[in-house]
């Protein structure tokens, strides 16, 4: 980490979905593979090993920086990303960055965008970011207001399915049956409740904003492409990125990408894009898997596979959620020839 100065560029192996860079022409290569990438969040921050949020934010912000030629301002809600990047007096952020509160990042971003507009800085764009708690719970009102006014902001939610910064408590994005510090794996219905859910990408779409997308650290190239696309659009844009949290999920820190991939390939976390309230694209599942493999990689679901008996009902219910997504979003090509 540096004191708000730039850092030499390092190169990383970026995984099967992003490699092949050397075989691609320049325009199609990942932002991360570029000598000119901005390192918007430099290394040296305090995230846990294998933190999906750190990875997702780095790819998202570097892509946004490239798309805007560095003319970017970031607003951050309170949460892991904010805390691990700015231990006073150091900062990882290589772009102007503002943290105000847990629940107001969308409104703060609206203010920044308004100021830039009135100052005639049309070239400078605004990204607001928050965790699932900051987005789906406490900042929900401000986010909906920002969408409804169609303020010129890209809002990115890093969804790790709980309040990680305060020690893994439940949020409204926590999946059913998951163990958190406030939905303990005890009693008749261990873990989080099977409620109706709160699908923020769909809620964002209901505001008819120009662009909504889901993305995952399992497919970083896709993530970069969506951020790049979002930055070319004006008005309110929303990207919801799944970012596994090894600490909160009880997954191995070297398994972040695999866990994220199983969430996508099982249908639990569908990848799609929508424009002006209409679904425009879904990423088809390449190799369908059952949810069980995904659940088994994470200690937060360990009680479903207890030695004294598997909780098949809950596993089936989670599988049903995945199946519902597959059907709803058309995640698998149905063979219509036969």
């Amino acid at each position: 980490m540096t004191d708000q100065t730039s850092q030499p560029v390092k190169f990383y192996q970026t995984g099967t979905h992003t490699v092949g860079n050397r075989l691609l022409d320049d325009a199609k290569r990942t932002v991360q593979s570029s000598m000119d990438r901005s390192n918007a969040i430099t290394s040296g921050h305090r995230a846990c090993q294998g933190c999906g949020e750190a990875l997702g934010a780095r790819y998202a912000l570097d892509a946004a920086m490239r798309a805007t030629e560095g003319q970017l301002v970031a607003v951050n809600a309170t949460g892991c990303l904010e805390v691990f990047t700015t231990p006073y007096p150091e900062t990882s952020w290589q772009l102007p960055w503002l943290h105000s509160l847990f629940g107001n990042a969308p409104a703060v971003a609206t203010g920044v965008a308004a100021a830039l507009r009135v100052k005639g800085r049309k070239d400078v764009k605004v990204v607001a970011q928050g965790g699932d708690g900051g987005t789906t719970d406490i900042g929900f009102g401000c986010l909906s207001g920002m969408f409804e006014r169609n303020d010129d902001v890209l809002y990115i939610c890093y969804d790790n399915e709980a309040y990680m910064n305060t020690g893994v408590q439940r949020s409204s994005a926590t999946p059913p049956a998951a163990r958190t510090a406030t939905t303990q794996a005890i009693g008749d219905a261990p873990g989080n409740v099977f409620g109706t859910g709160k699908n923020l990408p769909l809620i964002a779409m209901a505001h008819n904003i120009p662009y909504v997308a889901t993305a995952s650290v399992a497919d970083l190239h896709d993530l970069e492409a969506k951020v790049t696309k979002a930055m070319a659009i004006s008005g309110s844009r929303y990207i919801h990125i799944m970012v596994p949290c090894p600490l909160g999920w009880g997954s191995a820190s070297d398994a972040t990408i695999s866990v994220a991939r199983l969430a996508v390939e099982s249908g639990l976390f569908p990848l799609f894009e929508a424009e002006n309230g209409t679904l425009t694209k879904v990423n088809k599942i390449r190799r369908l898997v059952q949810v069980e493999g995904y659940l088994k990689m994470q200690k937060r679901f360990a009680h479903l596979f207890a030695k004294d008996g598997k909780d098949q009902d809950s596993i089936d219910a989670i599988q049903a959620m995945a199946n519902h997504n597959i059907e709803r979003f058309g995640l698998i090509d149905v063979d219509t020839t036969s």
Binding site: V73, P96, V118, C142
Partner: protein, 415 residues
């Protein structure tokens, strides 16, 4: 230029003359006419180069202001009562970040019981949020204080609340002197932020600060207020040079010269107090008053100078610290530390209760004979509260207090 105008409309004009670049608002009585006024000025093009943003809550209003101010725009919002409490977290945050936002408070009571009328409970609840708090005595002063507030806020990089009594000032029509744009431009330099979100010079604002530096950051917040103590009178004199009238400052004294009894109050009630003093002076009473314009920073030394030769102090205040008594009175006692003077607290005008000259005169006369209790509620209906206390003791399920008192009052009117 002298114009007959509503207080809120005049404040909207004054704000517009200050050329704010971002104004955000959420409506609440009695603040509504102010933001409606600014909104109309933006829409009809009279206030150019300004973004007027209607938001979904007061929390969002001040949050938008925070973002706009951090990005270098001159920023304004207004609220009252429940709205101020709803934005409380952002109120502290704006001050902590050192953002020179100006906000009008159309002072109003806080519920429950819900009440739209004037008192100072709202702004008093935020007295220690790190904002400068100025209280206007008249609509002319409210107007003038807004123009001073932007200069003060921006020189110190500290947010300023201009508090004006709801309805009594916000909705009152008076002849007011609206300054010219030329004079305001001469008085108020362009906003030069001390920190700004700029891609050409990127830095992080709002980072996590631990025990190793937090005290120092808070010390500096206090130091900013101490600087304001010097700057407020200075800005007041420059204002007088440009506009030709006195407005603002830390305190205003009235007939304190040889006064034995000095009344201390904030805001519009000072007008009524002065009239009572005039009457009592005619009858030979040695009485005067001090109106506190700057409540934060609190002018300890100036107040001590004004009060130290009196025999007693009566604080008339429109807010209550339940379990203690008066908020303002406690601060006044601090100004009198080391000086042995009785300070009587009179809680008055809560939830819009009229403060009459007759009642004030009775209280001041009783004070002159040192017949006042430490804490008194002006024009309290003793029968009603006694009755309710007894009833609540008798019946466990005695029901909601506010409704009981209302019923009693209604019964009392038509027995």
């Amino acid at each position: 230029m002298l114009i007959q105008m509503e207080g809120s409309e005049a404040v909207a004009e004054a704000v517009a003359l200050c050329r704010p670049e971002v104004v955000c608002a959420y409506p609440i009585t009695p603040q509504t006419h102010i933001v409606e006024g600014v909104g109309a000025l933006v829409k009809d093009g009279r206030l150019e180069n300004c973004e007027f943003i209607n938001v979904e809550s007061e929390f969002a209003a001040l949050s938008v202001a925070i973002g706009a101010s951090a990005a270098g725009a001159r920023t304004y919002t207004a609220t009252a009562s429940q709205g101020l409490l709803f934005m409380a977290e952002a109120v502290y945050n704006a001050a902590g970040l050192g953002l020179p936002i100006v906000m009008t408070i159309g002072n109003r009571a806080i519920g429950a019981p819900i009440n739209i009328w004037n008192d100072h409970s709202d702004s008093m609840s935020m007295r220690d949020a790190g904002w400068i708090q100025l209280y206007a005595e008249t609509n002319q002063e409210a107007l003038d204080l807004h123009i001073q507030a932007f200069r003060l806020a921006e020189e110190l990089s500290c947010p300023v609340m201009v508090c004006m009594d709801g309805f009594i000032l916000t909705h009152a029509y008076e002849r007011l002197d609206i300054p010219s744009q030329q004079d305001v431009d001469a008085f108020l330099p362009a906003f030069e932020p001390v920190q700004v979100l700029d891609p050409d010079d990127p830095y992080s604002i709002g980072a996590m600060v631990g025990p190793e530096a937090f005290t120092e950051v808070r010390y500096l917040a206090n130091d900013t207020q101490l600087q304001a103590l010097k700057l407020i009178p200075e800005i007041g004199s420059v204002f007088k040079e440009v506009f030709g009238r006195e407005s603002g400052g830390l305190i205003h004294e009235y007939m304190t010269g040889n006064a034995e009894t000095i009344v201390v109050a904030l805001g519009s009630v000072n007008g009524t107090i002065k009239e009572v003093i005039d009457t009592m002076r005619e009858d030979g009473a040695a009485i005067g008053s001090v109106s506190i314009c700057s409540f934060r920073p609190f002018p300890l030394d100036e107040l001590q100078d004004a009060l130290k030769d009196a025999k007693r102090v009566v604080v008339i205040e429109k807010s209550l610290a339940p379990g203690l008594g008066g908020v303002v009175a406690s601060n006044v006692r601090m100004a009198l530390r080391g000086i042995n003077l009785p300070v009587y607290t009179v809680i008055a005008g809560l939830g819009g209760r009229t403060i009459t000259m007759t009642s004030l005169q009775e209280v001041f006369e009783a004070a002159g004979e040192d017949r006042l209790p430490d804490l008194q509620f002006l024009d309290l209906d003793h029968n009603a509260v006694e009755h309710e206390i007894v009833r609540a003791r008798r019946t466990r399920r005695s029901g909601p207090i506010a409704e009981n008192i209302l019923r009693q009052k209604a019964d009392g009117r038509n027995p």
